[in-house]
């Protein structure tokens, strides 16, 4: 049960981060300067010392935050892997015929889907953080990296598909996390949690995809 609570809490932390990440991305509509300033501010590379300066030395917060998120990912993956192993050991030989009455596609694809989402996360970090400046972009300007990447049709297509997987994972994950944390206490609260789960998943999908599409169609950049 400790593993399940870990799954729920780390999952919700990551959803919270994604909502913030999505909001930050929309700064691209305010132009290159605003977007780059926001990115540099998060890294403590602006003149005012950036986020949380002077509580922390300039450029420290980003590393604390990265460590925190990596810990969340690692714990989420560890808990999932060990619960998955336990459940496979508990399985019988399997039915000749199985009819599922309640299972959604998102719920069914949580495990392998989660592995694909992790692969996408690693790709995304390589593209924008670990190896900045792909597609001949200026590595010191996140705005130029975004424009260079999302001017490619196949890149936008890859993100469009990957984000469907991410948002499906979130749709079941959001509901499941709150059920695990004991908030599914009536038919009404189940309806609210499920509704919120769809809402968060759709908001994240639209919010994340609108910027790459705007770049692709030349509305910004």
């Amino acid at each position: 049960m400790v593993k399940k609570f870990t799954m729920a809490v780390t999952g919700l932390i990551m959803i919270g981060f994604l909502l913030m990440h999505m909001y930050g991305n929309l700064k691209a509509f305010n132009g290159a300067e605003a977007f780059d300033h926001y990115a540099h501010w998060l890294k403590g590379a602006t003149e005012d010392g950036g986020i949380l300066y002077p509580i922390m030395p300039a450029g420290t917060f980003i590393w604390v935050f990265r460590l925190f998120l990596v810990a969340a990912v690692v714990l989420h993956f560890w808990a999932a892997a060990s619960l998955w192993r336990k459940s496979s050991q508990a399985a019988g030989r399997g039915y000749q015929r199985t009819v599922r009455k309640a299972q959604t596609y998102s719920a069914r694809t949580m495990r392998w889907g989660g592995v694909i989402v992790l692969a996408f996360l690693i790709f995304h970090l390589l593209q924008f953080t670990i190896i900045p400046g792909t597609f001949h972009a200026d590595p010191s300007s996140p705005y130029s990296m975004v424009v260079a990447s999302f001017s490619q049709v196949w890149m936008v297509a890859l993100y469009a598909v990957s984000m469907i997987l991410v948002c499906m994972h979130i749709r079941h994950g959001f509901w499941s996390a709150f059920a695990t944390l004991g908030l599914n206490m009536s038919a009404r609260s189940r309806g609210i949690l499920n509704g919120l789960a769809y809402f968060v998943a759709v908001v994240l999908y639209v919010g994340f995809m609108i910027m790459p599409l705007a770049v692709l169609f030349g509305w910004i950049g």
Partner: protein, 249 residues
């Protein structure tokens, strides 16, 4: 009605099992599913074949003995016990697949009979509650609020058939354990041992080899007694509290 049955036959726990086909004529749509199997067994006996072993007892939906995965669904197409399922739920000439519950902690004993002792062990791990037995207690001696009493009663209707485990893609017994936990957690008599009980019952189901709940909801969709998925959140709530409470040790 004339039916084609495909039934799981397995001589013993470690024997190799397989689906065997039988043709059965003369089935009335007013027969219960178990009476249909009785008819098949009569014919098999007359032909000197081994009858199909299946679990049954009260045949009125309250004992939890009957099981069977029928056409891929635990207890079949109606959300009720197999004994309360009638042949009018099937059409003439239909092919019906009949299999035993499948889960690691439910080994097949023979044919369609599985060993559900693991569920009893979870209950045993729950220990005792402090309540007098024998003569009926004085009415209103222990006040129980109406809403909580209703929830307790809804959960107390669990007959421990194990359909939740059979239907769960994770072979988890969470809905069963949650029904027992919620039943006692709602009543004054269940309070003194409440947090110890949830810890030891959850530990027991883990040790017995059941899987982990992923909140899919297959269990509640097949439960013949309609135990709601909400009970699982009640268990989770108590479990979280137990971790931080002195009396949860």
């Amino acid at each position: 009605m004339k039916l084609k049955l495909r039934i799981w036959r397995q001589a013993s726990t470690n024997a190799q099992g397989r689906m065997v086909e039988y043709e059965l004529d003369g089935v009335s749509e007013d027969m219960s599913f178990l009476e249909m199997l009785d008819l098949l067994n009569e014919e098999l006996t007359l032909r000197n074949e081994e009858p199909v072993a299946f679990d049954h007892d009260c045949r009125e939906g309250i004992c939890g003995m009957c099981s069977l995965v029928i056409n891929g669904v635990a207890h079949g197409p109606q959300q009720t016990t197999t004994c309360q399922l009638h042949m009018r739920s099937f059409s003439d000439g239909a092919t019906i697949d009949i299999e035993p519950w499948q889960a690691g902690p439910f080994p097949v004993i023979k044919d369609l009979v599985v060993d559900r002792t693991a569920l009893d062990k979870i209950i045993q791990a729950g220990g005792y509650i402090s309540s007098n037995t024998g003569s009926a207690p004085d009415a209103h001696a222990t006040p129980a609020p109406k809403r909580e009493a209703d929830i307790a009663f809804d959960n107390a209707t669990c007959i421990g058939c194990g359909a939740c485990v059979a239907a769960c893609p994770n072979s988890s017994s969470m809905l069963f354990t949650a029904a027992k936990i919620t039943h006692l957690a709602m009543l004054p008599q269940g309070q003194p041992e409440r947090y110890r009980r949830v810890k030891s019952m959850v530990a027991a189901q883990d040790e017995l080899g059941f899987g982990n709940c992923t909140n899919i909801g297959e269990c509640a969709a097949v439960c013949p007694k309609g135990i709601p998925l909400e009970s699982i959140s009640q268990l989770n709530r108590d479990m979280m509290k137990a971790m931080f409470r002195g009396d949860g040790k």
